[in-house]
């Protein structure tokens, strides 16, 4: 397949992000070009302040680029308004945050159901239910528990189930294991890997290089630019990761 005929879910062309901090302009991302085909697992690694989270925020519609364009699932979201971005996130993106970000007053099942209902609001309801999704991430017995009754790993798996709930085009994980211990971190990675196996495109931001090796491709970012792209011939199984 020729490069322009590929089924790319993400296309970044000359994407830049400049933050104005008082009198000073800070370039968080500098003219980045990137294409991610559907179904790929991509890890973005780099030191703090390198621009990896900025890139994830642009891809997830949490922020807009200063220059360049961003196309996700064939839709150019570059000039989207806040309202359009809300619909975009609702339909296309599944987020998994470092701090889980579950709604404390809702049970595990209700947290997932919340995402399902959101996805159902403007179109066909996803062909899934919250209990099934939680069972898939190994929490079938804990669906009626509140976040305060779940461990960090369990909370993050609820977050993964929530991300899956709306059948997103793209799953974005921002340091999803950063707040977890080694064992539960691996469980969460396993869940993301499982999502990817089922055809979801997953982009994982991490500063942990061994962990990035679960991905099909690793993007090394520094000073807001992709310095190196590494194709991982044999991605590591999450159970085999050591960090």
């Amino acid at each position: 397949m020729a490069p322009d005929e590929r089924d790319d879910v993400v296309v970044l062309e000359g994407a830049s992000k400049v933050y104005r901090m008082g009198e000073v302009d800070i370039s968080a991302l500098r003219e980045v070009d990137l294409r991610i085909p559907r179904g790929e697992f991509v890890a973005i690694v780099g030191p703090s302040g390198s621009g990896k989270t900025t890139m994830l925020n642009l891809l997830g519609g949490l922020d807009t680029p200063t220059h360049g364009s961003i196309t996700v699932d064939g839709t150019d979201i570059t000039g989207y308004t806040e309202r359009q971005l809300t619909f975009f996130r609702r339909e296309k993106i599944g987020f998994v945050f470092q701090f889980f970000n579950l709604i404390p007053t809702l049970t595990a099942e209700e947290n997932v159901q919340f995402a399902i209902e959101l996805a159902s609001r403007d179109g066909v309801p996803p062909d899934t239910n919250a209990a099934e999704l939680l069972t898939r991430v190994g929490l079938g017995e804990r669906i009626h528990h509140f976040p305060s009754q779940l461990s960090g790993g369990e909370q993050q798996r609820v977050a993964v189930a929530r991300a899956l709930a709306k059948d997103p085009v793209l799953v974005l994980g921002d340091e999803p294991t950063g707040n977890l211990d080694f064992r539960t971190g691996k469980l969460v990675l396993g869940a993301l890997k499982e999502m990817n196996r089922e055809g979801k495109t997953v982009i994982l931001v991490t500063h942990n290089t061994p962990l990035a090796r679960v991905a099909d491709r690793i993007l090394h970012i520094r000073d807001g630019q992709i310095m190196e792209q590494e194709i991982v011939e044999n991605p590591t199984h999450p159970d085999d990761i050591v960090w």
Partner: protein, 796 residues
């Protein structure tokens, strides 16, 4: 040279305040409003009380006065010799008619005063012009309130009736008087400022023009400090006995003194209850809001401890928060309260023309309010900070488990009625939040209830006063014109008036000044004698016979407040001392009545005649109901009848009453403003804290695709659900507080039933919902402006 560095925690305090300046400003306003209200109202009451005392002291208000039918001036020497008497003033007092305008008449009380020197008792304060001199001849000093109301001034003339002639009295001065701060003749009377006044004239001129040479009929006495005036009065009465003692009035029963005393009592009741309530609510709300603020910084407390700051340093940091809020609020509150107290006092002084003004600074009030709010601020800062500081740093940096659902169990109501929950998350999430975040919900419900309580309690007082104006004068007082005469009105005159054009009915009555005695309990007032079928006054009987039966049995109808004061019940006999008889008369209490205004007592015309020592029925009052002709014209005709002392048209009575209540309205208006403002601030701080506590939750919802309009609807619905609990609770509490306040206002002058009109409930509910919705604006704007990327990464 080493530069001075601000300690980091102090710097953090400052930065925290800047970062949350809206919330901090609201907390300072909360404290300031509480203190301002308390200091302002209590100061106003104290100022008023002191001003009145100053007037009584400076103008040598009599400790008691004795009225006689006529005595020689020389008798004063004997009274001066009574042990304990400090000073005595002899006076000749005559009530007569006056022309207010070409067509309008009124009553003037002419008081003869010395011209060689100022009165040694019951002096006057000359506000304009000068005091009378021996060369003035026929001249007068006019009471300031009448002069102000009718435009009289120094140099103008007042036409008075004397011995069948009209005399123009030139006004030499306009004066204020301690004994006529309320210009009334009898206790409980509503002041008719532009229809009744006091004119001080040289004593010898009063004797001359009224042909009462060498006579006095009023002896005013001041007693030495520490001497019992009642005891002295007994001795004076003995001396005056040969001259027919008509009445002895102690200072407490003096009409103006009693009326002002009632005002001060009301003022004290209002100052004691509502502002204190506002202060307490401000303190409770402050405690809740500040402790939530500190709780929200749990993570930072953990971090500070992890970095090595001691518990003391952390506590000191949060104490600084509290001290800044307490100090800011206290300074603003005290300055505002001091201004409010002085402004209110000035309003009162202007309205009542109290001759002396006292504006004090009361340390106990200031210290009391400062201590209360300071304690609240410090404890609100320290208690949650201390609780957080005791937790291990790592644990403190995690989310507060109190913010999550307690125990992990669904609330009972959800377990029972979860099936009935709406399907849509837009409804379900706010409803669940109400039940699952019980502490947060409780804070909001308390805040809303406080706001409703303050608004309803003050509006209920408004309604109760309005009831008096709207209903009392229609339902209870059923006459259109009343007339009081100083000489008996004959049956022929009653019949004549009945035939006047525009008169539909005339009901005669007789008012007799009496002293009711039951053991050591006494009450001085007037009994109205009337026919059993009379309808000019409507009764609400609490106990005993109907009016028709009670009057038909020659019994006494007594208001409940007097029955309690005199400790009598239906069927009891009571001794009635009349100035017209040497012996006492006994009447049987047949009914206990509920009277909203004053303490009117009623009996039959036969009993009235017995009290006056007459064998035939007599009248000195007429109650008219009118048809087509104007009341003003009838009033003028009534004044033309012999002995007419006061003619009142009901509309004018209502207007006078409204005028008398104007300060009460002003006071209530201020309280309402405070209550409403405080309610707004309480709800604002509550809702702002509600949103701030869940920024990340809201950001997460937005990130996963919830749009802002739905979030705004969710926040609004949650607040409205909370209002559904808070508003009824506030209404219930408001009624309780209003009832307690009305109880404290009840006395011999007013006995308002607590009235809350249905529309008031509607206003309060609508206003509360509007406040709830307006208070949401700022928090919702924060939701709209959230930086999602940042907010979703914040550690809670």
């Amino acid at each position: 040279m080493r530069s001075m560095r601000v300690p980091m925690l102090v710097l953090k305090t400052w930065r925290d305040i800047l970062a949350r300046k809206g919330q901090f400003a609201a907390l300072i306003v909360l404290v300031a409003l509480g203190i301002m209200s308390y200091v302002g109202f209590v100061n106003a009451y104290r100022n008023l009380s002191l001003s009145a005392d100053n007037a009584y002291e400076a103008l040598k208000m009599a400790d008691f006065t004795v009225s006689v039918s006529g005595a020689p001036p020389g008798v004063v020497a004997k009274i001066e010799a009574v042990p304990g008497v400090k000073a005595v003033e002899r006076r000749l007092i005559v009530d007569t008619g006056m022309d207010i305008s070409a067509t309008n008449q009124g009553t003037v009380r002419v008081i003869g005063v010395p011209v060689g020197h100022r009165p040694v008792v019951n002096d006057v304060l000359v506000e304009q012009g000068r005091y009378l001199t021996s060369t003035d001849g026929v001249a007068g000093l006019l009471h300031t309130r009448f002069a102000t109301a009718t435009g009289h001034t120094v140099g103008s003339r007042l036409s008075i009736r004397a011995d069948g002639a009209t005399i123009d009295v030139p006004i030499k001065g306009v004066v204020a008087s301690a004994e006529y701060i309320f210009p009334v003749r009898t206790k409980g009377e509503i002041p008719a400022i532009d229809e009744f006044t006091i004119l001080y004239m040289p004593a010898h001129e009063v004797e001359r023009i009224f042909r009462m040479q060498s006579q006095i009929n009023d002896i005013s006495v001041l007693v030495e400090p520490g001497v019992d005036p009642e005891h002295v009065a007994d001795r004076v009465e003995d001396i005056l006995d040969p001259y027919t003692v008509l009445a002895t009035v102690q200072r407490a029963d003096q009409p103006s003194y009693a009326a002002l005393g009632e005002e001060i009592k009301q003022n004290r009741s209002i100052a004691a209850v509502m502002p204190l309530l506002i202060l307490v609510i401000s303190i409770l709300s402050l405690y809740i809001a500040l402790s939530r603020l500190v709780q929200s910084q749990r993570g930072e407390i953990g971090l500070a401890k992890a970095l090595g700051y001691s518990n003391t340093a952390v506590l000191g940091h949060y104490l600084l928060f509290s001290v800044i809020i307490a100090a800011g609020g206290a300074i603003l509150g005290f300055l505002g309260g001091w201004w409010l107290g002085n402004y209110t006092t000035q309003m009162y002084i202007d309205l009542l023309h109290i001759p002396y003004l006292e504006k004090g600074v009361y340390l106990d009030v200031i210290l009391g309010s400062l201590l209360m709010s300071g304690f609240a601020c410090v404890s609100a800062g320290i208690v949650p900070a201390f609780a957080s500081a005791r937790i291990a740093p790592a644990k403190a940096m995690h989310a507060d488990p109190n913010l999550a659902v307690k125990g992990g169990r669904l609330p009972l109501i959800e377990r029972l009625f979860g099936w009935a929950m709406p399907k849509s998350f837009v409804f379900r999430v706010p409803l669940r939040n109400v039940f699952r975040q019980r502490r947060r919900s409780a804070y909001a419900v308390i805040g809303i209830a406080f706001a409703v309580l303050l608004t309803l309690a003050t509006m209920a007082m408004y309604d109760s006063v309005n009831w008096l104006l709207d209903d009392y004068f229609k339902i209870t007082e059923r006459w259109d014109i009343s007339a009081v005469f100083e000489q008996p009105v004959s049956d022929a005159q009653v019949s004549e008036v009945e035939h006047w054009e525009g008169v539909s009915s005339v009901q005669p009555a007789l008012a007799v000044p009496v002293k009711l005695i039951n053991g050591s309990a006494t009450h001085e007032g007037a009994i109205t004698a009337m026919a059993p079928e009379a309808t000019f006054h409507g009764f609400r009987i609490l106990e005993g016979d109907s009016a028709k039966t009670a009057i038909g049995r020659d019994g006494l109808m007594l208001p409940e407040i007097l029955a309690k004061k005199l400790n009598v019940a239906v069927g009891d006999s009571i001794t009635v001392d009349s100035p017209y008889r040497d012996d006492d008369v006994t009447l049987v209490v047949r009914s206990i009545t509920d009277e909203a205004l004053g303490t009117p007592m009623y009996t039959s015309l036969d009993s009235g005649a017995e009290l006056t020592g007459s064998s035939t029925r007599q009248y000195n009052m007429l109650y008219l109901n009118t048809t087509s002709r104007t009341d003003e014209a009838l009033k003028d005709d009534l004044y033309d009848l012999p002995g007419a002392a006061q003619v009142m048209v009901k509309d004018q009575v209502v207007a006078m009453f409204t005028d008398m209540m104007s300060f009460t309205y002003f006071f209530f208006g201020l309280l309402l403003a405070f209550g409403f403002l405080m309610g707004f601030v309480v709800i604002y701080t509550t809702f702002t804290a509600n949103v701030l506590e869940r920024m990340r939750e809201i950001a997460t919802m937005r990130t996963i695709g919830e749009d802002t309009s739905h979030l705004a609807v969710m926040v609004t619905l949650e607040n409205l659900f909370l209002s559904l609990v808070g508003i009824p609770l506030g209404l219930w509490l408001g009624i309780r507080v209003a009832a307690a306040m009305m109880d404290s206002l009840t006395g011999e002058t007013y006995n308002f039933p607590l009235t809350v009109y249905p529309q008031t409930y509607v206003y309060v509910i609508v206003a509360s919902i509007v406040v709830v919705l307006v208070s949401e604006i700022a928090p919702i704007r924060r939701i709209l402006r959230l930086d999602l990327a940042e907010a979703t990464k914040v550690i809670e």
